[in-house]
């Protein structure tokens, strides 16, 4: 193997990161499925956000776990959306509780999940930067 070649995002510490993302992928998907199947009309906005969050966590898990050319871009996109999502939803849920009659993973910056949803995207971005392909073009 070429020692200068890029490191996969799913190896080393990335292994743990993928495990954490996997837990949230399952948790968010479960929450979303239950919400949508049982009470979809009750709170369409937070429930749609729950579904989006589930999608984002699944995409981030797959993007980080798989080591293919497309997976890195998927991980960047998913983790980026996750960061924006947790910041926007976290702020909105505190500023306007009426908008969120029921919780999403990102409500209150993820306080229902020990604020891990707030920490994870930063870890994800840091890890993606750290494992960036070394053969990338030099910066201008």
């Amino acid at each position: 193997m070429d020692p200068v070649s890029r490191r996969g995002t799913g190896t080393g510490p990335g292994r743990v990161l993928v495990a954490l993302y996997g837990v949230f992928a399952v948790a968010a998907t479960g929450r979303s499925v239950v919400q949508l199947s049982l009470q979809a009309s009750e709170a369409p906005f937070p429930y749609a956000l729950s579904a989006l969050a589930a999608l984002v966590y699944v995409a981030a898990t797959v993007g980080l776990a798989v080591d293919r050319p497309w997976s890195r871009r998927l991980a960047w996109t998913a983790v980026g959306v996750e960061l924006v999502g947790v910041l926007v939803v976290g702020t909105l849920s505190l500023a306007d509780p009426v908008l969120f009659p029921d919780d999403t993973v990102w409500s209150g910056y993820g306080r229902g999940y020990g604020f891990l949803p707030l920490v994870l995207p930063f870890l994800g971005l840091a890890w993606l930067l750290r494992t960036r392909p070394t053969k990338a073009r030099p910066s201008r």
Binding site: T11, G12, R15, V16, V18, A19, G30, V33, V34
Partner: protein, 122 residues
């Protein structure tokens, strides 16, 4: 739910987390003891599923059955997946995956108990 059964699950899963945490320090891979403990946890989770379903049928409580069964099945899937994911990693990060497993399962059991008995407080 059956409290002693759930306490067993929590104790075993915390034992997995602690043992894996101890293994992290000298940079040890999961060995037969750690994996054995993980599989023991899985066995008790299977028992928990059977007992949980049996209680659902016999007591027919007024709870969200889908959510409850979701937790029962969900935490059952975690140990094999975690063991598989840990196995593919040559560094100590594989061991750390089992720490994540051991810490996650008690939260699922806690949520499961809250679904079973909404009035229940820790």
């Amino acid at each position: 739910m059956v409290v002693w059964l759930q306490l067993t699950v929590v104790a075993l899963s915390l034992a997995v987390a602690v043992l894996a945490g101890v293994y992290l320090v000298p940079d040890r891979r999961p060995d037969r003891w750690l994996l054995g403990l993980t599989w023991l946890l899985e066995v008790v989770l299977v028992v928990q599923l059977v007992v949980g379903i049996a209680l659902l049928v016999t007591e027919s409580p007024d709870i969200s059955v889908a959510t409850f069964v979701g937790y029962l099945v969900g935490c059952l899937l975690l140990p094999p997946v975690a063991a598989w994911w840990a196995r593919g990693e040559p560094s100590r990060s594989g061991t750390a995956v089992l720490v994540v497993l051991g810490v996650t399962v008690p939260f699922l059991v806690l949520r499961m108990q809250q679904v079973w008995d909404p009035a229940w407080i820790l």
